[in-house]
Amino acid sequence: MSAGIDLDNVCCDFGTFRAVDNANVSIKPGEFFSFLGPSGCGKTTILRMVSGFIEPTQGAIRIGGKDMRGQRPNQRPTALIFQNLALFPLMPIWENISFGLEVRGVDKATRRKKAEELLALVDLPGAADKMISQLSGGQKQRVAIARALAVEPQVMLLDEPLSALDLKLRQHMRAELRAIQKRTGVTFIYITHDQGEALAMSDRVGVMSQGRIQQIAEPRDIYDNPVNGFVASFVGENNIFEGSLGPVADGMAALTGPHGSFRARIRPEAEGKPLKLYVRPEHTKLAPTKGSENSVEVEVTEVAFEGAFISVHGHAAGGKAISAEVRNDGVTPVPALGDKVYATFDAARALLLPDANVRG
């Protein structure tokens, strides 16, 4: 059983501070949806509104089509996994997991059986009688998931649950979470500030900044077609050029600035706003000769070896920083420190974007 969630013009004010501003999302049943944004962007507030700990100041939240106004957290078909997990340290693991069933008056034998089943599901068989303090970080994570699944929620809400784990475990738990979500079919809403996590796990991602949802799209679209400069910068690196915009034709426009004239893609809705040109370092090619268009001369100031690729940083005229990534494939030539090269990019790979969507 899983339910969809609709946020209709949801706002949340804390005093005079607007934490969430006019959020509109429609999350489909069984979807893995992530809210991605820097700390303080309002993503946790959204999660707490969905789970019922905060009432929205305006707007409506519907779960499975049912308006949740006035419903306490213990009346909603959601289960929240806290950032610090909030497991009950004084109960053995099986009681932790079956607490939600205990509340519903399920008898002890059934609860125990259900706890064992869930422990098997999260790959922790035989841990039923241990205490929380005897578990490692990753194991606690699994217990928290099992505890939330025990109440058979229609929606699982996860508040940066992986942030306390080390890198290897985090990557492992990402795959695990995704697998559990697929197995159970429950709708997942996942909160994170880690763009890698959001892009790798989610069906769709909502990128937030300053209380506003900037863009809702599939991970690939978020990365390749960001709607504004904030989204482009938050999910990856960019070379940014400023200048004045020329006429638009066939979704392309030219931007003329101190470093020359560049052509790039432009969305119809972006026309008329102040725009900058964004191009990713991996789409920026370095060559000893000037390209036919979108080319700028760069003096290499740093060559950082990253393993699979080499990150090259340089300065264009006027000290403007430009970076490029060179694949470590043994064929592509790697410039040396102090070399003068041309950074060239494809017009189809560059975007003309406005700044972040904020309240004005």
Binding site: G52, N74, T78, L80, N84, A86, F88, F99, V151
Partner: protein, 311 residues
């Protein structure tokens, strides 16, 4: 110890240790031992002290079993030695005081620790503390005034139309110990509040929210999450309030009715009126031991370990 030596050097460290040793040995162990020793010797005229009659015996202890007195406990008529009866009353009503302080202190502690806004905490704590700036004797006398027959409590209740006739509070409505229970509860409620407040403050609020999120109604969240966490605080609060109440001499003396006897008053009578320090010492020893045994039994009953309280 190593740490102490390294930080303060030999001189200061030995001063610290000697002071602590002096305090424990000279001010606690020796007087108690002297009382313990005295309690086995008979009360004799000064000239006979050390003479042939001055031998150790349990005679002082067995005095508590003298003087049978007919009374009723929960409606059952019994004949008990008068001092044993006083002792049982003292333990029972001290336990009742402990229960009442717990009932008042737990919700208040929870409110202070988890609900009240952090900015209002200093004001609230100050309001709680102000009555404690007045000495216990004065507070007891204040209650004496409040509870008197023509006092403000009766006047207020009559004025509000709640009662028609003045009530003799000091004689008691339920038992002759009513006034003592009321005033002891008032005097010692903070000794219950603060350990519980400290314990609940250390509880992660997310755990309360997690329980609610899993569908738990408020009472179950308290029963399964908050109270187990606060148990060490509750236990140390209970031990403190119980021992202070049972050992209180002042409150029962000031507000107690003529029919209410508190065991410390009995001990006081032996020491001060009968001038029989030996029997007084024996009674003190009995009282101390019995209260310790009672506390240990209660701790067993509620599955509290001594190490929990030490926290």
């Amino acid at each position: 110890m190593q740490d102490l030596l390294r930080r303060y050097g030999t001189g200061l460290t030995s001063v610290f240790c000697l002071l602590v040793a002096f305090w424990i040995l000279v001010l606690i162990v020796l007087p108690n031992f002297a009382m313990f020793e005295q309690s086995f010797r008979p009360y004799l005229p000064v000239v006979e002290v050390g003479g042939p009659k001055d031998v150790y015996s349990f005679a002082n202890y067995s005095k508590i079993l003298d003087n049978g007195f007919e009374s009723t406990i929960f409606g059952i008529p019994v004949t008990l030695p008068i001092h044993v009866l006083t002792f049982l009353d003292t333990v029972f009503f001290s336990a009742l005081v402990t229960f009442f302080t717990l009932v008042f202190a737990y919700p208040l502690a929870y409110y202070l620790a988890k609900i009240a806004s952090p900015r209002s905490i200093p004001t609230l704590l100050l309001l709680l503390f102000i009555p404690m700036w007045v000495s216990e004797a004065l507070r007891a006398f204040a209650w004496y005034v409040i509870l008197t027959f023509n006092g403000p409590l009766n006047a207020a209740l009559k004025g509000l139309g709640i009662i028609e006739e003045s009530i003799r509070w000091q004689n008691g409505i339920f038992t002759s110990y009513d006034a003592i229970v009321i005033v002891l509860t008032y005097c010692y409620v903070l000794f219950m509040l603060f350990p519980i407040y400290t314990a609940i403050t250390s509880l992660d609020t997310n755990q309360i929210e997690a329980a609610e999120d899993l569908g738990s109604p408020w009472w179950r969240t308290h029963w399964r999450v908050v109270i187990p966490h606060a148990k060490p605080g509750i236990a140390s609060g209970c031990v403190m309030v119980f021992m202070l109440s049972a050992g209180s001499l002042l409150v029962p003396t000031v507000v107690g009715s003529t029919k209410a006897n508190w065991f410390p008053q009995t001990i006081y009578t032996w020491f001060n009126d009968a001038l029989d320090w030996n029997t007084g010492a024996a009674y003190s020893m009995i009282f101390l031991l019995a209260c310790i045994v009672f506390v240990i039994l209660m701790m067993r009953l509620f599955r509290v370990k001594l190490s929990d309280i030490a926290k």
